[in-house]
């Protein structure tokens, strides 16, 4: 088996975000890291919408990002710390819209290691130096400078190592133009490692250390080191230094040390200031639980600065420092607003706050005010003795605030993110859909959702109105060339034409010069200010002064097809003749003296738009009934001569020539594509050579069951093609590459561009007798998401064989269940405590739920109707019980009646795993599955993490034990057990009497159930330990699984052993066989192995397109959706692997990681080709493309076609 890995949806989790002027323009941009991918976002200052400029896979793991700007520069660069053991400086080149690697300096081994730098990055605010640090000991400082040609230079590294020091955080100090200084939070472990009494450990101090880079001596010195709070976790830079022009200080310099419950201002030889972090006064909040700051941002404005710090609950605090010159007078903190917990916060100069959420959707907020004059209580260091540092070892009294809905911020934009995907199913449930949908359980806590993902572009409808009859075509047109918007809508009916004018309202008009008594074939704004209508009996040329010049068709003939552009008109007559007209310089339409006889009825015609600055387009495409398409010259030298001919498989129904940019073919200029729609629903796309008019590089695609109609439209100021069949598709250019995506919209019969003041970039379409005006707002987003809100983190969900409901279990650790919370509140009320109901009733989606101690759980079972997209019912679990697994089981003891079994556990602790008792709850389905009735609860001794139906009974993985249960009157009855598993059973799958068991740490084992002796025996397992998270059976002997470290692999059992085990009736043979390597007697063989880079949470064997091949689809925790496609032939394997090999040398990773070692992070990659790498072939420069294609003995077009075919035929994407 050989697989091709293709990412359909790249990870959407944001691990870090930085802001800067990366393109060098005045506008600020944001670079976000998605763990294995870098993306440049550009927020639009006017609309507040965020658009993606570019996104690139880096084939490595990004651990840290920092922006810096050289002194006096106008452009920011990004520094990337990754697991490549290299420091990378990236520059965004706006011309080519790519990241360019300016510097790549190797300093250590690859991998996310303890003492290899890359975890933390800190830059000098003046852009003179950068420090890159490891988790322990190693810190390197690089000096950044310019050379004579103003190019960025980087020095060799200077070491600032400290042995046996664990580094919590580093930050660059703002010291103006003095020697660059860095601050680090370090703990030394050498003493506690030596002291058996544990005293040294208890007295271990966390040191705030300053490292100074002496630019004169070119070395780094430890300047200052002082103990600080032992629970400090984060440092924030405080502005400092003098302005060059004045003597005024920007700020006091130094750092904010964020500790548990406190913020301390700290600087060398300066007084410390300490304030408490205000906390919510929630009655259920544990007062002993510390509160830490997890994200921080400093913002400098003219003459002032402030900080926004975010606590782990999501509350933002505004921190200000009052200072006189370099002396701090007070440190103040107050509650600002509550936003989702962020991995990074970015403030833009234009007044926006970008919140890169650690889970769920990301947000862009706009500042309404800065919380300057509100009644929010402010806590100042001057309120406490000695500025809060009277006794640094004792905490300050708690400060409280009341959270409120957003007050200082408003949401400007939301970026959808699937992160985290915890479970998924691939099914075709929705009506009128011929491709399956992906249902994903996403999110964490109260912001969780169940999302339905459909392949296609989202459509926003703005108008939908009924028409008197059923039109067969629609056009819009301007009146003159220079009009900004369209003036008329022309509708063609079977026996007439209706003209509507677009103004304040849309109403019928009569005096336009258009013929209303006949249907229309084409409408065109022609020349400077004239209009043109083609109808079956002639061509009307309506001049600006309403005079009409009409060309009439000779008697007995009609026009069957027409195509027009601004200067040319071609019509085909029923006698299979072509008539060609061209506009002369006086604005007269002149007929070419000859007519061209085609010899076969013409079905479709198309000419391209007139190229800018030209008189005419030189080519005409004609589709004839004899299943051919001919390219005919319109050049004055050879007018109406046939240039080339292409045979088709069916009669054409539409042709459309369009000039579109596709960087994989031509990076600088649009390519002329001839799109041919056939009557059988197949679309051919060929490239028309502009020099010799030959058709090359044909790609085919099946669009739907109806004959195709093609329309040239404008989308976001770029030409695009709308292809209408039983589904509507849009062919467009996005980020310089061509895309072909269906629209998620009703079937359209005809469509055209529509441009009016309110909808400048719209489309107009007809569906039956309904006229619709719509937009396609999100190009590039190929998966449309619809979500259903959930209450807690979803864990798993399953389908029911008889109905279309989903049964989903949710559970949250460290959250009190509804019952426990109400009970506790009532108790507090009885004690006479004053309870602030407003705080208790805050919506958890925005504010989260109060954190409870470990071992507390809130959980429920939810029934969802995915078609209606709503929750049908919710069954909360009480008594600190949480659900971990579920299965629908047809118990044969009850005549095959379906039951829902939910595995739960009470008072569960995660590490080490323990519970007071596990339960198997057996439910009966009521109301056709819309409700559940609890039959009984069976106690078990451990947490049941996996359940599955098996031969009319239940197989349960209860902790380390694999058991089979049958249903009883009051309980489930244990029938057989196998306790040889190492840690915990997490996945189960079955075929026949074979059960495939995934162990949490010990990979996949093959077990068999032998009914005669009632034995459950493990007969084969893996020779490697694997931390399984998801698995599925590929066939009877083969299993595909994903592990916790981001690998997917396929294991296969030798078919001889399989037969041998199946032939053994009692299992006595297996029972007495000798184990190998302290495991089962047989081992499986590793067939394929690949490091995806995201933790695989589910894996399915599905077919993504109707009648397509089955593929393995997996979802990743960070929002990845990918597929593994089996190759069908050896030639394909050879071809694609060779291409991959070439790509590896051509396309070096942006973070400097070797692609092969990245894909073989833990185990060398085996029999899997990295499709994401291969697809970057389309972005290579033309010369490299042809060099590689030459090595492969193919043309560039053939290589691209093969890559596209691999993607389209297996995923439809």
């Amino acid at each position: 088996m050989h697989l091709y890995n293709l990412t359909l949806q790249p990870p959407t989790a944001t691990t870090q975000a930085i802001v800067g002027n990366f393109s060098g323009a005045r506008q600020q941009e944001i670079i976000v890291s998605h763990g294995t991918r870098l993306e440049l976002l550009r927020p639009d200052v006017q609309t507040g919408k965020v658009t993606t400029v570019i996104a690139t896979d880096v084939f490595g793991s990004i651990r840290s990002l920092a922006a810096f700007r050289l002194t006096g520069g106008t452009k920011d660069y990004a520094i990337v710390g990754s697991d490549s053991g290299r420091i990378i400086i990236l520059d965004y080149d706006p011309k080519t819209s790519t990241f360019v690697k300016l510097h790549q300096e190797t300093y250590g081994k690859s991998g996310a290691r303890r003492i290899v730098p890359g975890q933390y990055l800190a830059t000098d605010p003046k852009g003179r130096a950068v420090m890159i640090s490891a988790m322990e000991k190693a810190k390197l400082v690089y000096i950044l400078n310019r050379d004579a040609a103003a190019n960025l230079t980087i020095s060799s590294p200077l070491e600032a190592h400290k042995n046996a020091a664990i580094i919590h955080h580093i930050v660059g100090l703002d010291v103006g133009f003095e020697n660059p200084m860095f601050a680090a939070l370090e703990v030394d472990y050498s003493e506690s490692d030596q002291d058996p009494t544990g005293e040294a450990f208890n007295n271990a101090e966390k040191m705030l250390t300053y490292y100074e880079l002496d630019l004169g001596l070119n070395h780094v010195v430890r300047k200052w080191s002082e103990p600080t709070d032992t629970r400090a976790n984060l440092l924030v830079q405080v502005p400092g230094g003098q302005l060059a022009s004045s003597d005024r200080f920007d700020g006091p310099s130094g750092v904010l040390v964020c500790c548990e419950d406190h913020i301390i201002y700290r600087h060398m030889d300066a007084r410390q200031h300490r304030v408490p972090i205000p906390r919510r006064k929630h009655p259920l909040e544990d007062p002993n639980r510390g509160l830490i700051i997890t994200a921080a941002v400093m913002h400098k404005m003219k003459g002032a600065f402030f900080f926004l710090l975010q606590s782990e609950d999501g509350d933002l605090y505004k921190v200000t420092i009052e200072h006189e010159e370099e002396e701090v007078k007070s440190l103040k903190i107050k509650y600002f607003d509550t936003v989702p917990v962020a991995s990074s916060l970015c403030i833009l100069k234009s007044g926006f706050l970008f919140v890169a959420s650690e889970f769920g959707n990301h947000y862009l907020y706009q500042f309404q005010k800065l919380g300057d004059d509100d009644s929010e209580p402010e806590f100042s260091s001057t309120d406490y003795p000695s500025y809060g540092m009277d006794d640094p070892s004792t905490p300050l009294p708690h400060a409280f605030f009341r959270p409120h809905p957003l007050d200082n911020l408003v949401v400007a934009d939301e970026l959808e993110s699937l992160d985290p995907i915890l479970d998924s199913k691939v099914l075709n449930l929705l009506p009128n859909s011929d491709t399956p949908q992906i249902f994903t359980a996403c999110g964490r806590g109260a912001r969780s959702t169940l999302r339905t993902l459909r392949h296609g572009l989202e459509v926003e409808e703005s108008v939908s109105s009924d028409l008197p009859g059923i039109p067969n075509a629609v056009w819009t047109t301007k009146r003159t060339e220079d009009d900004p918007f369209d003036s008329y809508i022309i509708l063609s009916f079977v026996n007439g034409t209706l003209v509507l004018s677009i103004g304040e309202t849309i109403e019928e008009v009569q005096d336009t010069g258009f013929l209303s008594s006949a249907p229309t074939l084409a409408v065109q704004q022609i020349g400077a200010d004239a209009l043109l209508q083609v109808h079956p009996h002639g061509i009307r040329h309506v001049l600006a002064d309403r005079r009409v010049n009409e060309w009439r068709v000779p008697q007995g003939k009609t026009i069957v097809s027409a195509t027009t552009n601004k200067r040319q008109v071609v019509v085909a007559l029923s006698s299979a003749e072509l008539v060609y007209f061209e506009l002369d310089l006086d604005g007269q339409l002149n007929e070419y003296q000859d007519r061209k006889a085609m010899g076969s009825t013409v079905l479709a015609l198309s000419i391209a738009e007139v190229p800018e600055g030209r008189q005419r387009t030189p080519y005409l495409a004609v589709g004839c009934e004899d299943q051919t398409v001919r390219i005919i010259s319109l050049d004055p030298e050879s007018t109406l001569e046939t240039i080339s001919l292409q045979a088709l498989t069916a009669p054409p129904s539409a042709i459309c020539i369009a000039d579109m940019l596709d960087a994989s073919i031509n990076k600088s200029q649009p390519t002329m594509f001839v799109n041919i729609g056939l009557q059988n629903g197949v679309l051919l796309r060929t490239v028309l050579d502009p020099i010799n008019g030959q058709l090359t590089d044909t790609r085919t695609r099946f669009l739907g069951t109806r004959p195709i109609k093609l329309v040239r439209v404008q989308i976001q100021r770029n030409p695009a093609i709308l292809a209408l069949s039983s589904r509507s598709w849009l062919n467009y250019t996005h980020q310089n590459l061509m895309h072909f995506t269906p629209l998620i919209y009703d079937n359209l019969d005809y469509a055209w561009s529509f441009s009016a003041e309110l909808s400048p970039e719209g489309l107009i379409g007809i569906a039956g007798s309904v006229l619709r005006i719509f937009q396609v707002p999100k190009l590039g987003t190929k998966l449309k998401q619809d979500s259903i809100p959930l209450s807690y983190t979803p864990r798993k969900f399953i389908t029911h064989p008889g109905n279309s409901y989903f049964y989903l279990i949710e559970g949250d650790h460290r959250v009190m269940g509804e019952d426990a919370a109400t009970k506790k509140l009532n108790e507090l009320r009885r004690q006479g405590k004053n309870i602030d109901n407003e705080v208790v009733n805050l919506p958890p989606e925005a504010f989260g739920r109060p954190k409870a101690p470990a071992g507390t759980w809130a959980s429920c079972i939810r029934i969802i109707d995915p078609i209606e997209a709503k929750t049908v019912s919710v069954i909360p679990l009480e008594g600190n019980e949480s659900a971990f697994s579920l299965a629908v089981v047809p118990f044969s003891a009850h005549g095959g009646e379906l039951h829902l079994v939910v595995g739960t556990a009470a008072d569960t602790f995660i590490s080490p795993r323990s519970c007071t008792s596990g339960y198997l709850r057996t439910y009966k389905f009521i109301d056709d599955g819309a409700g559940l009735e609890l039959l009984h609860k069976t106690e078990v001794d451990d947490v049941p993490l996996a359940l599955m139906a098996f031969q009319g009974r239940l197989v349960a993985g209860v902790g380390k034990a694999l058991r089979i249960y049958d249903i009883g009157k009051k309980k489930l009855l244990r029938k057989v057990e196998n306790k040889t598993f190492a840690s915990a059973i997490v996945t189960l799958s079955t075929q026949g009497s074979r059960i495939i068991v995934g162990d949490m740490q010990e990979s996949i084992a093959y077990a068999v159930y032998k009914p005669p002796e009632n034995r459950l025996l493990v007969f084969a397992d893996d020779s490697q330990p694997r931390w399984i998270t998801a698995s599925t059976m590929v066939d009877y002997n083969t299993v595909a699984a994903g592990d916790r470290f981001g690998n997917v692999f396929v294991n296969r059992l030798d078919s001889k052993i399989s037969d041998q085990v199946d032939d053994d009736p009692t299992g006595a043979g297996i029972l007495h066989e000798k184990g190998i390597l302290m495991g089962a007697p047989h081992k499986t063989k590793l067939l394929c192995h690949f490091h995806v880079g995201d933790l695989v949470t589910s894996i399915h064997k599905v077919s993504m397109v109707a009648g397509g091949r089955e593929v393995l689809l997996y979802t990743g925790l960070h929002g990845t959706i990918g597929i593994l496609v089996p190759f069908v032939s050896k030639e394909d394997v050879d071809f694609i692997s060779t291409l991959e090999q070439h790509m590896r040398t051509e396309q070096s990773s942006l973070v400097g990681r070797d692609q092969l070692s990245w894909r073989g992070y833990y185990v060398p990659v085996k029999a899997v080709v990295d499709g994401d790498l291969c697809e970057t072939y389309a972005r290579l420069p033309g010369s490299k493309q042809s060099a590689i294609a030459g090595e492969l003995d193919r043309t560039v077009g053939e290589v691209l076609k093969k890559l596209e075919q691999l993607r389209v035929t297996t995923s439809g994407f």
Partner: protein, 87 residues
């Protein structure tokens, strides 16, 4: 092994130990080995974004908190060292 060779081998080893924290040697105690293993593991978890997300979801904590507690635990992941017998 000649004494001379042992001498050079040792200096190299010492050099390696100074340079690469966590490198094992023949006299490594069980406690030291385990402590190194734990510190390596903790550092690796903090260094892999997917693993921190995974733990944060399982534990119901913020990612920032998980990273902080993991880093804190690196100070003494396996408790205090055992008492030495010879004194």
């Amino acid at each position: 092994m000649s004494s001379e060779l042992r001498y050079t081998a040792n200096t190299q080893l010492e050099h390696l130990h100074a340079r690469y924290t966590g490198t094992g040697h023949a006299d490594l105690s069980k406690y030291d080995w385990l402590t190194h293993q734990h510190r390596d593991t903790l550092a690796s978890i903090v260094g892999h974004p997917t693993l921190t997300s995974y733990l944060a979801i399982a534990d119901g904590e913020a990612i920032g908190r998980v990273k902080f507690e993991m880093t804190e635990r690196m100070l003494q992941p396996c408790g205090p060292p055992p008492r030495k017998d010879d004194d």
